[in-house]
């Protein structure tokens, strides 16, 4: 066990955890922030996507000991950012979700995409969203919502 000071959604959080614990489980079980999801544990589905210093990252394979003072943004905090807010709104407007379990990760990946590329093409979308699995296969609406959010942001 070790103690870590984490910067989560702009707040400092103190947690005690085994150094090998993935950030995902620290968020979910120590900080009770369950919006970030466990889907595979091997960074193959993207349900656990958060931002570390703005970079979309699979939190299921990053040990808490490697986080340091990087800024962590989760689905619970991404709405504070204009791009995050626009993506969430577009998701609701386009009625994207079905079961909804993967959508936190989808939204986090989409926000990272739109911060890097203001007018994403289908190819940009396939590249950036390519690792986010959705078993309900809401992909058609995910594409539409990303384009809608891009429109709203310009």
């Amino acid at each position: 066990m070790a103690t870590y000071q984490l910067n989560v959604n702009g707040q400092t959080k103190k947690v005690d955890a085994d150094p090998s614990t993935p950030l995902l489980w620290v968020l979910r079980e120590e900080l009770k922030m369950t919006g970030t999801k466990y889907g595979c544990g091997i960074s193959a589905c993207g349900a656990c996507t958060v931002h570390l210093n703005g970079v979309a990252t699979r939190s299921c394979i990053v040990p808490v000991s490697l986080i340091g003072n990087q800024k962590i943004t989760t689905i619970e905090g991404v709405g504070a950012d204009p791009v995050g807010r626009a993506v969430q709104n577009a998701w609701v407007e386009k009625d994207v979700v079905q079961c909804g379990y993967c959508q936190s990760g989808q939204i986090m990946s989409a926000v990272a995409l739109l911060k890097a590329t203001t007018k994403p093409t289908d190819t940009n979308i396939e590249e950036s969203m390519g690792g986010n699995l959705c078993r309900c296969a809401t992909y058609v609406r995910i594409r539409e919502a990303i384009k809608r959010a891009a429109e709203q942001l310009t």
């Binding site: 091997i42 193959a44 079961c99 909804g100 969203m129 296969a137």
Partner: protein, 729 residues
């Protein structure tokens, strides 16, 4: 629960109204239906049905209307669509409607199937009238309350948007009438709206759960957190049915936070449960266990050996499912006009995004369970049985589920069973059992592997003159309570559905099946038998159309029975809406398929090219005939998503395989469902206009996509694709 009423108390049998005050000052209005399944008993002295209070509608004093959904919400949208139906008949203000998932209880059982469940695309089909009548009865009681207050006749009142209007400009909000309405007798019969009067039904109504699912606040079963809760994982045998001979947990127990480690019985064999304060600890501890397994006497499945066996079986007739027309017809067709097609379909895992889980707290004389469950009645009974309780001593909460596709509808309830078994030992402590993704991928309950062999004799008109079809695959229902109904003449009907009930007019038709026993647990996978049967039918028919040099839609129209009206209407609409087939880009081809299952007819056209030796699906156009469309937005979403889900069986990594009894895949790195790049870029959904009773939309999208895609590929390459998963094109 209410006490059982005396047998002769029939006065209130049809007046299933219960009133109870709540602290908030509002009132529950609870209406209970006469279930069709028991309706035939009414001429006799019926046993009184015992219903819990507060069942379906709660008009709150703040104007909110809480509607209870008798189903699991796992993406299909019933948490929105069922309340829509009730609210429409009730003339409720939709902006004030909130909904919740029902606990397990008698009153929430499926009106047709007789147990609480989601499956068979039955949520809307079975509860449409139920929820309409609930809404109409509630509305009638609100009107009666207003009429009573104003001392006017109910005929002089009308309703709109949660307000009752009376003569001389009188009006009152539903919320103000709730208490008085709850005291009104429940009308036995109510007239329902005509479709032209619908305000919500038939519209595109956005989901009620969107916002919570976009900001991380929606809680799923796996997100449950209870005071003092422990997390459990189980080490399962790597060969199904394996038993723990011995295990060494010394290293595992050294981990800080490990609470207990012990052997537990499984449905088949045994395993070792690890209980810890945290998931990560439990998982690490499990990795440190040294378990010696006893697998003596167990079949060690090997996929390639199984294929050999299945293909041999497919060359011999099985138990007869359908024998129609002249059995000798084939022999009269020249050999040059016969085709033989052999197909392979692998085991498929469902892999819903939310890993399987169940939480149970055992308190000696009672228990509580929280399960994202498609089969609440069975799961509740199982938890009770494990804990030595009666089902009504187990409060069973239906948790939102992150997908399911059939995987949470398990007759042996093995996941809640494991959770209850562990919780029993930790009396008083809530235990959340988590199946890791590896547990899920390797844990069985797959869509069964199948082999098909079809021999078709083509008539001089290019249409099939004789058809002999053999299907080989494990029975899903053997040994379950459904066997009595669903296994006929030794044939599991879920093995042959989609062929046995084909809409094609094939005069001389012989279908038989082998249901071998294999040491692999199997289960229904979204659209069940239609996953493979529609693939076979629609690729064979396409091949016949090509040989006959006919347009694939025209050929299907010609071959369909005239009474297949639903499917014919879907094909017509598809034809109208897929004009793009005439202006395809170079290197692209269109593929067609159509199929009817669960009462819903679907026709599909896809625009496909080949990229990196894989099919690229640029577009899918779907025409749907599902009777009256309840929520057009949900239908569209179900079809867009279901089409994508169906692509699973085309994926190069879309197969579960076995070597020496062990599953060779482990996680999404080996068993690979479709990602965004694999799914169609666009899916446009067109709905046949209809006022027939609504039918389901969860499963019917799935069967059509894979045959449509390989039919397009066949046009590009000249090859026929009969083995799944689809290797390099």
């Amino acid at each position: 629960m209410q006490a059982i009423k005396p047998k002769n108390d029939r006065i209130n049998r049809r007046s299933f109204l219960r009133v109870s005050s709540v602290a908030a000052g509002g009132l529950f209005i609870s209406l209970y239906l006469d279930l069709p399944a028991i309706a035939h008993e009414t001429t006799q002295e019926p046993p009184p049905k015992v219903y819990p209070p507060d069942a379906f509608v709660h008009v709150r004093s703040d104007g909110k209307i809480l509607i209870t959904v008798n189903r699991l919400e796992f993406g299909q949208g019933v948490q929105t669509s069922l309340p829509m139906i009730l609210a429409d008949e009730m003339d409720a203000d939709w902006s004030q409607v909130v909904s919740e998932l029902a606990q397990a209880a008698e009153v929430y059982k499926d009106p047709v199937f007789g147990f609480q469940m989601v499956g068979g695309s039955g949520s809307i089909a079975h509860s449409f009238t139920q929820y309409r009548e609930l809404g109409a009865k509630t509305r009638a009681m609100l009107i009666a309350a207003a009429a009573e207050r104003w001392k006017v006749s109910p005929d002089q009142c009308r309703t709109e948007n949660s307000v009752v209007y009376g003569p001389a400009g009188k009006s009152t909000r539903y919320a103000e009438l709730a208490e008085r309405a709850a005291r009104q007798p429940v009308p036995g019969k109510v007239s329902l709206k005509s479709p032209s009067e619908f305000r919500l039904i038939g519209k595109k109504v956005p989901r009620l759960d969107s916002v919570a699912k976009c900001d991380g606040s929606q809680k799923f079963g796996l997100d449950l957190d209870l005071p003092g809760m422990k997390i459990a994982v189980v080490a399962h045998p790597l060969v199904f049915g394996g038993r723990v001979k011995s295990f060494d947990d010394k290293e595992a127990r050294r981990l800080d936070g490990v609470k207990d480690i012990f052997e537990i019985p499984l449905v088949n064999g045994s395993g070792v449960a690890v209980v810890a304060d945290r998931f990560w600890t439990a998982k690490q501890a499990r990795d440190l266990l040294k378990i010696d397994w006893d697998t003596s006497g167990l079949e060690r499945v090997d996929t390639s050996e199984l294929w050999t066996k299945y293909k041999e079986l497919a060359r011999t007739p099985g138990n007869v499912a359908v024998a129609r027309g002249d059995d000798k017809a084939m022999s009269r067709i020249p050999v040059a006009r016969r085709i033989v097609a052999e197909y392979e379909f692998p085991y498929l895992a469902h892999t819903p995004m939310e890993p399987l889980n169940a939480t149970v707290r055992f308190e000696g004389s009672k228990a509580e369970a929280w399960v994202p469950s498609q089969f609440q009645t069975m799961d509740q009974m199982t938890v009770a049985q494990v804990l030595g309780l009666k089902p009504d001593q187990v409060t069973f909460h239906t948790e939102f589920a992150g997908g399911g596709f059939g995987r949470r509808a398990v007759i042996d309830s093995h996941v809640p069973r494991e959770a209850a078994t562990i919780a029993k030992r930790l009396r008083g402590t809530p235990v959340k059992l988590v199946w890791t993704r590896e547990d899920d991928v390797r844990g069985g309950y797959y869509r069964p592997m199948h082999a098909h062999r079809v021999e078709i004799g083509i008539g001089a008109d290019g249409l099939p003159g004789a058809w002999r079809h053999v299907i080989v695959g494990q029975s899903i229902l053997a040994g379950t309570p459904f066997a009595v109904m669903m296994i006929k003449n030794g044939v599991d009907q879920t093995t042959v559905e989609g062929v046995s009930d084909t809409n094609y007019n094939i005069p001389n038709f012989h279908l038989s099946a082998h249901n071998p026993t294999v040491n692999v647990p199997v289960l229904w996978w979204r659209s069940v038998g239609n996953t493979h049967t529609a693939f076979v039918m629609e690729t064979v028919i396409d091949e016949l159309a090509t040989r006959a040099r006919m347009d694939p839609i025209a050929y299907r129209r010609k071959l369909l029975k005239p009474e297949a009206k639903k499917l014919l209407a879907a094909l017509d609409l598809l034809d109208q809406q897929s004009g793009w087939r005439n202006s395809l880009l170079k290197g692209h081809a269109a593929g067609i398929s159509c199929h009817e299952c669960f009462g819903t007819a679907v026709a599909c056209a896809v625009d496909v090219s080949i990229e990196n030796n894989r099919p690229k699906i640029h577009r899918a156009t779907v025409a749907v005939n599902c009777g009256l469309a309840v929520n057009r937005l949900t239908i569209e979403s179900q079809f867009q998503g279901g089409i994508g889900f169906g692509v699973t069986q085309l994926m190069a990594g879309g197969a579960i395989t076995f070597k020496d009894g062990r599953v060779q895949q482990r996680n999404f790195d080996g068993y690979t469902p479709p990602y965004i790049v694999d799914a169609p870029v666009t899916v446009d959904v067109h709905i046949v206009s209809s006022t027939e009773a609504p039918t389901g939309c969860g499963e019917p999208p799935v069967p059509v996509i894979s045959p449509a895609v390989v039919n397009a590929l066949a046009r590009l390459t000249g090859k026929r694709y009969r083995s799944l998963p689809l290797a390099s094109v």
